[in-house]
């Protein structure tokens, strides 16, 4: 039977068909849908963990017991999981183990463009690189088999396009895989010297064996064209983008991009005049080939950053002299009004950032929907790097400021998902070496969901969703840790919230403010809409500046000046606009 699946759904299906049992993940674009799909298979234990490190550890536990296990995360998520990964990889694998990681060439939804093939090699893992939904499913199954056969952890590295792309997939049945059980063997599973010393040789031999297997493995496909003198080495979606050009050249398509068979490449080098590597982001395959002494070209013709579309491949091959004419015109997109993302109507983050903007304080931001406070409409977060980083950065900057006699306030914002992910250790650190001059304000934007990736549950979701099994009370937790100055506010009480935040920034010490309102989108908040009375409106645009989708200036019949207006279909009745209006022109409809 065949069906249409996204790359993400196909990854999950592959794990299912391979008899996978234990799966964990932390939500991050572009791989979120993998776990959402896995949760639909009753036979699989599947969880969103608090962070990628815990998710990896859950999968490791399953694998150690001999169950087939997987963990999925976005590319930067692997950075969080690196510590257990780099040590676990020294063990011979029991139950098949796959780390699925979603790279994001072009960064449509990421804070950097790291190429995780580098991490796979660094961690001594074989790396599969699917280019279609069908391949995503097949490579998952092959990776799990090879993982057991070569006792190696495997990586399936999938790019954002392939995650979200749909294609036709042939479905298979689920294999009946019973976990083999855990056999105590300290030499294999306790990583202290001298076990670790032996492990280095074990890992080297393991990769060499996998390389030997890669020589004529069915997942690496050689398509030779009679009389061709150029060989393109490529993988993943780049193969399909290249095929659109329908060129009379030979192609070696790597299903597994690491390790690459030296023997095979030497044979091909003998046979072809030119070898050109086409790959997105880093020159990974190109570097591998050059290390093997295989003369080839790649990044001198193709960009090191962003996605490579068919027309980019065409352009590179033209520059390389491989093709003499271009099939596709080089037409640039029109230059028109941009559409940056914005906080939803009724978003509980809006009043907080309006207050912070007006207070004109330095804000150390973090990762979540509230990252959008960086965008031009707000420009209210001034530092933003990675998950949970705001807490430590705020502390460090505060210490430097106070030692420099700088008494200005510093504000940190962090969401509940990020708080549980990796913010907590930072809060523990706040208890250490507290000084009289310290002045830090932490605002925990508790909307009771991991909103930006589509509203996954987290440790505080139980507050609004009674079916959810976790309800960690952040205030109680912080109090128990010894952080005493913790206030909870309803941020839709605008003036009270402003006064509490302003007071906190003015007083010394550590102030924590937890906002109470849930995500309007996740929890489908819909209150009676608000409307503007154009006779009262003075056209000051204070409400427009809170950048809410339904609010804009409009021409009313019989009134010369533009006045504010609210689209009743889109308004969800949070009331914030009516509270910032200086003349009371915005009223509730019922």
């Amino acid at each position: 039977m065949k069906t249409v699946l996204t790359g993400n759904q196909a990854i999950a299906r592959g794990f299912y068909e391979a008899g996978g049992l234990i799966a964990a993940s932390y939500p991050g674009s572009p791989t979120v849908e993998i776990m959402e799909t896995l949760k639909g298979y009753d036979e699989i234990y599947a969880e969103f963990s608090p962070n990628e490190k815990v998710a990896l550890e859950v999968a490791i536990g399953g694998s150690l017991y001999g169950a087939r296990a997987m963990v999925s995360m976005k590319h930067v998520g692997v950075n969080i999981a690196m510590d257990p990964l780099m040590t676990f990889t020294q063990s011979p694998i029991n139950g098949g183990f796959v780390l699925v990681t979603g790279d994001d060439p072009g960064m449509s939804s990421s804070q950097n463009e790291q190429d995780n093939r580098v991490i796979g090699r660094f961690a001594n893992m074989g790396i599969f690189y699917p280019g279609s939904s069908q391949e995503a499913k097949e490579f998952m199954k092959i990776a799990l088999e090879l993982s057991e056969r070569f006792k190696t952890p495997m990586m399936v590295d999938i790019t954002s396009r392939v995650c979200h792309s749909r294609g036709i997939v042939e479905l298979g049945n689920r294999a009946d895989m019973k976990p083999k059980g855990f056999t105590r063997d300290q030499e294999k599973y306790t990583m202290l010297p001298p076990h670790t010393t032996k492990a280095q040789y074990f890992m080297k031999e393991r990769i060499e064996a996998l390389e030997e297997y890669a020589y004529d493995a069915s997942f690496n496909i050689l398509e030779e064209v009679e009389g061709a003198n150029t060989l393109i080495v490529t993988s993943g979606l780049m193969y399909y983008n290249l095929k659109e050009l329908n060129l009379p050249i030979s192609i070696y398509k790597l299903g597994m991009v690491y390790p690459i068979s030296t023997k095979r490449m030497k044979e091909l080098r003998e046979k072809y005049e030119n070898i050109i590597v086409i790959e997105e982001m880093m020159p990974f395959i190109e570097s591998e080939l050059k290390l093997k002494g295989i003369d080839c070209k790649g990044k001198e013709y193709f960009s090191f950053t962003g996605e490579l579309f068919t027309e980019d491949i065409q352009e590179g091959l033209y520059k390389a002299g491989i093709i003499k004419e271009r099939k596709y015109a080089d037409i640039k997109p029109v230059n028109t009004v941009n559409r940056p993302p914005m906080f939803c109507a009724g978003c509980p983050h809006r009043p907080v950032f309006d207050i912070l903007k007006k207070l004109n304080v330095t804000v150390i931001g973090d990762i979540g929907c509230y990252s959008m406070s960086v965008l031009p409409a707000w420009k209210t977060s001034h530092v933003m790097y990675s998950m949970g980083a705001t807490v430590g950065i705020t502390k460090g900057m505060n210490k430097a400021m106070r030692r420099n006699g700088d008494k200005k306030p510093i504000v940190s914002v962090i969401g509940d998902g990020t708080f549980f992910h990796s913010g907590l250790p930072g809060f523990i650190d706040l208890l250490h070496q507290v000084e009289e001059e310290d002045n830090m304000t932490f605002i925990i934007l508790n909307n009771s969901t991991t909103a930006m990736t589509g509203g996954q549950h987290n440790a505080s979701s139980g507050r609004y969703n009674h079916k959810d099994d976790m309800h960690v009370n952040i205030k109680t937790l912080l109090n128990a840790m010894g952080i005493e100055n913790v206030k909870e506010v309803d941020q839709f009480e605008y003036k009270m919230t402003r006064d509490i935040i302003r007071q906190a920034t003015r007083e010394k010490g550590i102030s924590v403010i937890i906002t109470a309102r849930p995500c309007a989108l996740k929890y489908k908040i819909k209150e009676p809409h608000y409307y503007v009375d154009p006779e009262v409106c003075i056209g000051c645009r204070t409400c427009v500046k809170i950048n809410c989708p339904p609010i804009r200036m409009k021409k009313y019949e019989g009134i010369d000046e533009l006045k504010s207006s609210i689209d009743p279909d889109a308004c969800v009745g949070c009331s914030v606009c009516s509270q910032v209006c200086p003349v009371g022109a915005i009223k509730r409809s019922q």
């Binding site: 249409v4 279609s132 037409i331 940056p340 427009v544 200036m553």
Partner: protein, 189 residues
Amino acid sequence: MNKNIMLAGVGGQGLVLATKIISEAAFRAGFDVKTNDVIGLSQRGGRVWGSVRIGEKIYSPNIPPKEGDILIGLEPLEAYRWIHLMKDGGHIILNTREVYPTPVLLEQEEYPYEEIERLKDRYNLVEVDAVEEARKAGNIKAANTVLIGMLAKLLTIPNNIWEEIIRENVPAKAIDVNVEAFYRGYNFA
């Protein structure tokens, strides 16, 4: 039949479900199909776009420049943004409901009404207030189904397949409204 279909809209308009429905209908009608959705930084309010490529054998899900046959604009500005992908004389199905982006809301830039108006000079443009048509069918949430109905008119996939796929993809209580919305689109002059 070989068709390259581009979809463009605003986060929250339901573009991902629309590409899913179109691709499943094409598959069930016996074609090869690949799609692409790009969701930007956020769930709501940002630009989103997708492509569906239908044919005998499809390699890449991406539509190269000037290879687009049909452009479905869930929102006018977003349709205009992708016009470089379209063949001259290609079909544009345009929902006329504007969703204003931040630079327009903040009165920093003008909404490109004139440029959008001129699209009919170079392309086969059909405009529809899909929200209004959906309202007539019974629910404004079925606006994309109206547009899918208009698309169906340009393809060779039988209507019973479209109906089947719509039934499989919308909530049970919304089936009748969506089937009605589909035919309103299909019969839209």
